[in-house]
Symmetry: C2
Subunit: 342 residues, 2 copies
Amino acid sequence: MSARPGRRRVTLTDVASLAQVDRSVVSRVLSGDPRLNVREETRDRVRRAIEQLGYRPDPIARSLRTRRAEAFGLLIPDFSNPVYASIIKGAEAAAVRRGCVLMTGSLAGAGYEPRQYVDVLGRGRVDGVLLAGADATGELVDQLQRLEVPWLLLNRRLPGAHRHVTLDDERAATLAVGHLVELGHRRVAHLAGPPEADTAQRRRAGYERAVRAAGLQVRDDLLVATDYTSTGGAAGMAELMALDPPPTAVFVANVAAAVGALYAARRAGRSVPEDVSVVAVHDLPLAAYLEPPLTTVRMPVEELGARALELLATTPPESDIAEVIAGPMELVIRGSTAPLPA
Amino acid sequence: MSARPGRRRVTLTDVASLAQVDRSVVSRVLSGDPRLNVREETRDRVRRAIEQLGYRPDPIARSLRTRRAEAFGLLIPDFSNPVYASIIKGAEAAAVRRGCVLMTGSLAGAGYEPRQYVDVLGRGRVDGVLLAGADATGELVDQLQRLEVPWLLLNRRLPGAHRHVTLDDERAATLAVGHLVELGHRRVAHLAGPPEADTAQRRRAGYERAVRAAGLQVRDDLLVATDYTSTGGAAGMAELMALDPPPTAVFVANVAAAVGALYAARRAGRSVPEDVSVVAVHDLPLAAYLEPPLTTVRMPVEELGARALELLATTPPESDIAEVIAGPMELVIRGSTAPLPA
DNA sequence: CTGAAAGCGCTTACAG
DNA sequence: CTGAAAGCGCTTACAG
């Protein structure tokens, strides 16, 4: 019926008959089975046949047999949060190194019910799932557990869920606040992330620790919780700027919120850094181009993604995981922080 | 050996034996085969058995049989370009609506060779691939074609490749430049995208058309090509600001470059919009919080993603596709554009 | 040691 | 009309 014949795909059988061996031999040559011993000449014949026919094993058929998908999932709340770009990059590279595919998805973005999503991923589509951010709920973990899909929380902890890999967000916060204290600031505020977010809790804990270490008091009015968005950051900063007296320095929980914070400071008629210093977590490319260029703490985010995938792929599903990425972390000082005027 | 028995997964056979029917009946009930007629009571027994056992079909086994993966790929050059967040969101939602999975990947990000990537996706892992941005090369298209993996170019055209869905970038450019002209600007420059990018070509064409429509000349010195990054945008803007006289308005090809352009204008001692007006393509959330808030052209990016997936899923692979998304497009006027001072 | 055969979990053309 | 059987393309335990 069709003008183009639609040539049949090349299978193991085709290779076997061209090389004049059994299909199992081809399969074993391909997988490098050490227990196969055939003459080198035979091996070569198989390889030539594979080459000649352009044979590639069918991953679906292989998966059905081996019960391994050679694929992993990564669930993130929102593709527009730029920090996930780095996490994805790291995880994707690690997946490729193992010859696997990474399927990154966003629950909210796709309008999924968590249940649907698990149904889609479960039943053999992936060998495991990385769960990042607010989408990683206890309910989701329970469902994956029930379906026996290995999972791992990425920079997030959850009560009763003992598999997570995190960054040292508390230390990052300590670095940021320490910098502000060294500049002479005494009224140091914190524009925190959403209280239910684990990263927000750890950054806040670091803030409190650094404030106390400087011999200062943690004051409720200097602690404003927002979400991790620019809009939230702007609202939170407006609150802080309305205080009397306002803080002279603000540690912001992420860059998106910091973008909003810089905006709100301007609208309140305050100059950064002359009137108020601002520092945020994660050194995204954007930071350098803001007005003023934003001082940040650079964290090994790409490594986080890579290591998470590695751990997910190699740790038995019943084992606990609690790893903190040790990679480098540094303060990147730009124009948004300055000494407290005498 | 293990303390946890690892209960066997529930298969079609389990459901069939519980419901006391043949496996084919279960399969047909599940797929809603209209040619199956059994008593409603039997149908109910099957449904109850499915419910009771918590049965979910194995997608791998189904794929092997049907030769459909119920999955699509989306290849983007870079997760950190925020415009892709919207495209992904649209495509993901469309995939979910069809009960399919979307695997979004970045060639460069993962350090893939294109060939490897195609190998991974080819051979039945996906039912088709959406190709976006600079990664979509002729070579890649050829490989997919050879493997008979349906493909579709997303907001990109390529010589000899007659399957693409695009936005009307030319009209977007016309809107932006028209706005500048209406404000009285005569020396209107264009910070263009990379010359090889199809979107950059179309935006540039729109710029030239609008400039001519205003009775002005297209001048080479007012046309600077950069990449789509903030760093590139900063470098290009520095060039424009060094002209004598400099342009009084600049149409920037994307928001990332515009962020850099605003930065470079400041560094050159020029105020936006007093000395120079700036307008860019794509209304990202970030735009509102820049200094000054950026005037943009809003385009139906999410729709682009959704429609692309829909077309890929429903159009026979041998058919040509050349669709322009008709969705709404509008100028979002903020603080970065102002009338030319008299 | 090696190759033939079973089987992963489905769907669907086809025999009864 | 309906159910039993073949088969998708692999891998690997096992018989010879």
